[in-house]
Subunit: 332 residues, 4 copies
């Protein structure tokens, strides 16, 4: 970490700062240059709150040279992490995660599960606890929804992933194969700690207003609290460009693949907001190097109780899955 | 609500849609125009998931004409809501909420509390459960921090506000006068429901990537679940303009004052990120019509365990409070 | 166009508005509903300044139902426009446009031109008039730069494209095959009118802070002033996500392909800002349905006088071109 | 400038880089630290294209320590620049610039000019060349519009400011007191050079997608090409927060006042987009420390040919001007 100190700072201030940093266990090297004085800090700098150092009136800037997420950083594990969910190996094989926005009924779940399984999906998704922006819209079927999801997955031979929104509901997720932390909860640190302790693989979605660095720091929470089975998911960010529900930040894929050893998938559905935009976004994500896709699929989108506009129907998903396979072959 | 249907839609599809909407309790008026067919819906349209209607291939667009947050909307209570926190009346009197980012020790809290009280603060803030982006930085003193805060408030004669980050910690907030839901938890709906039921006044911060509408819908959750004592807080949003920690959306103040009867305050500290930017942002917020300010204040910012860079020291806050009073006089 | 009028508007105001709209040649249909009065306008509504109508205190909202860019809209030409640049047919064949950020010398241009031609590029790019953000950095070789570019193109058998930044320089572009309007000049309407009149094919880059609609309206300027040979180019937008030089809005590709008949290409170089990010972004753009790519290529990036960080070297471009071909085969 | 070099870089590469930097006239100090090698560069570093240095594979990062806009930087002129426009002294006295979006007729201009003069405006604005996003809307009256503006200003005793959009129109601005470069032309460097040479005071508007740094670099163009009479203007930026036409970045005011000696004003009208939002934004700007405001005013907004929705009527502007005076008194 580099601390850039203003040019005419009194020696006493410099000494006091240096001593306090050394007291925190860092090794400090001082370099006097023309326009500034530089303090080069070595040691466990990720513990240091860089913003706090800037409180000092004579500190011009603070630059990190090592990672603030040492466990998640690529350098911690050059090989790359593989997260096993049932038989799926995310990070080793390209994986399709598919299913409806919400589990609505046994018939709906059965129809969708068998179809997406035939189309090559590796994991079945389905929401039981929906984080709905408005308190007046369908909130999901709760525990019953989880049962519907798990039953459908069992019959179709697919592991399941579902979103947990409340730490107190975690006990209901015992038989769920992968737990999802939604975009709106990416920095719900209380939830992250519990989900880490719960021990199951985690699908961590990037917040709509979150930077890549914040996503990685939330992943760092999970790793630090003992759970290394984390899959990151880009799903579109908030920008001024409003032609779709969110702006898919496809550049996040190569940026993340460089920064971390954790697998990175993309949810093109929440970015697209409309079913006819899902496929181009999905293919773009695959071409950019994503380890997988999570796609919303419904057997009857027009009747969906939530987010029907962006769901692919069964034939649409089958077609997408086929195109994805061709693309993967061409990319090797 | 207005549903705009594509020009050559088969009559059968139109009939089916109309019937399903009427079955949901809405009154449907059909208007055939040159370029489109318009369905005008009256009734409890806030229950309708507009995005879901767009799933239909022949729906061109959906326009809301009435509010999706009927309880929070200004029309629900033209007079304006006053939220009482101790002796403070937010929404009636301009209120200053002040205190450190985190409660660190009894001496620190006592020094800050007595000083800000003398400077005219109406509420004392202090964090005990800090939502830190990195798992390696100071997380707050937890229950002990709350005790320090409440003791300091008691001695200085000020009510206190503190952030809750985990639903299971709410029981510790029995003697806290106002509960804060942080920006990162603005859409933690599980937390919102619990905080509403808890019954204390709520300070709801706008998420960094949240629209005004989403903020109001989160407020709607609180009102709908029985708690109408909600104060909204703008604290800066995520944009490409990175010269400060966040971009203060001062326009949110007049926009919110028009849209809702709930009081609106501003936190200039988290937008500024640096103490020398706090005052101009604070004064701008007051001039824009805010009902109050929440400012981070520390007796020794350079030693602060978190966010020291943006804290005003005691003299700085006293000066700001004086300038705010002068401004308020000029604005009447 | 739909004008939504507030519920209790005096009849006299409504009559006055209706008459003034009819005087502008529009046909007005009035619909009285429960919560509002709707004025449905038919005719040449693209002439109407919707924002101006909102000036009226009783106008709640204005919704366009037909296109504000009638010449550029897909409906004007379902077949899709093909823009011929030399032998390249953009919009019919997938086209690679490649070359250095700036033409620096005859040797540099010759080396790059022959190499990219062998790699399958259809058009050679090279800047002579660089819009440099800082007045202190390399501004391009001007007229000499154009000569170097055209000579290199001639020898390699490739048509050339170069950016014009000043209307008074257009006369120098007589022998340039395609004229580029840069992102910073997307709304330089004086330049657009001249470039349209100049008659050559135009490469119109999307501004970093421009919406899709604004890009299409700038294209509309060109079409309206007589030049229909326009290729649109997405090159990354300004967002809070700063991990790359700009955020590539890959969703703009399918959105534009739906909205307009004009071809759409992508410049992954300016979004990437770093050479190792160019390929994933390029492949993502191809997968999303782009009609072409414009890539910065340099024979010796470390010595480039501008934007060297994002340039691919000759081998890198050859590799990319090959991967693009494979991808295109897989996508058919 | 600090160049951070990766840890195990071969000595030969380091030597080659150091020599080439010294050949560019810089003084290089090398510091070997644990995690990196640092090259500290002193001299005319603003000439260096930092992005270009990052092309080198072993360069981890480049940090500027001195200003890339040495002429505009506050350090160049601690006192602060005063720009004289007629009798107005922007940067010394708080100035109101007011007038219609476009000059439409002699009667309109006369009514507005005399009224705003009485209300205390120091400069009359009025557009003759409108940069309209759509080619179908009112483009301004051109040379005739300028005449109307100048005549009205003369009669009311006010200097005038108007926007130039085309370098070839500059000759028409001989008797205009101040030339405006619009937001969309902030990086039209050809126009900036001509406007600088033209010699009149310049009002430079920040682009909707431009950073503060880019605004200052465009100002640097003007200063470098000989024109130091530059006033900067914040007018709202592009963000995801769409409740107003643009998001007023009020934080830009204190940030700019720190960074540069040039005066900084705010245009609340283009951010507000609606007349009832103009006043709160205007007052916020004043409280944040702006040196002036530019406000759109029309005698009959409902009939305005452009941007009527955001114009204040004559009484509205008089009221605003009075409130501004009170605010300024309170702020001293």
């Amino acid at each position: 970490m580099l601390v850039i100190i203003a040019k005419d700072t009194p020696a006493a201030d410099l000494v006091r700062l240096t001593v306090s940093l050394e007291n925190r266990g860092l090794r400090v090297t001082t370099v006097t240059a023309e326009d500034a004085t530089l303090l080069y800090l070595a040691g466990e700098t990720w513990r240091i709150d860089g913003e706090g150092l800037k409180a000092l009136p004579y500190v011009v800037d603070v630059q990190r040279l090592t990672s603030p997420y040492p466990l998640a950083a690529r350098s911690a594990k050059e090989a790359g992490t593989v997260v096993h969910v049932g038989k799926a190996a995310i990070g080793r094989d390209f994986c399709l995660l598919a299913g409806p926005c919400a589990a609505e009924s046994a018939e709906q779940m059965a129809a969708i599960a068998s179809s997406v399984a035939r189309s090559g999906a590796a994991v079945l998704r389905g929401g039981a606890f929906k984080p709905r922006t408005s308190p007046y819209t369908f909130q999901g079927l709760g525990a019953e929804g989880l049962s519907l999801l798990m039953e459908a997955g069992r019959k179709a031979g697919l592991p399941v992933v579902s979103e947990v929104t409340d730490v107190r509901d975690l006990s209901l997720f015992e038989d769920v194969d992968m737990v999802q932390v939604g975009a709106r909860n990416m920095q719900n640190f209380a939830l992250l700690r519990e989900v880490a302790a719960f021990g199951k693989p985690v699908l961590l979605k990037r917040g709509m207003g979150a930077t890549i660095e914040e996503l990685l720091q939330s992943a760092e929470y999970l790793l630090r609290y003992g759970n290394g089975n984390v899959v990151l998911c880009e799903r579109g960010i908030r920008t001024f460009a409003g032609q779709m529900r969110a702006t898919l930040d496809v550049g996040a894929v190569p940026a993340l693949k460089q920064a971390t050893h954790l697998p990175v998938i993309v949810d093109p559905s929440h970015a697209a907001g409309r079913s006819d935009y899902v496929t181009p976004l999905a293919l773009a994500a695959v071409a950019a190097g994503a380890d997988g896709l999570m796609v919303e699929v419904h057997n009857d989108p027009a009747s969906a109780l939530s987010d029907g506009a962006q769901a692919l129907d069964l034939a649409g998903f089958a077609a997408l899955a086929e195109r994805v396979q061709k693309l993967l072959s061409a990319l090797r």
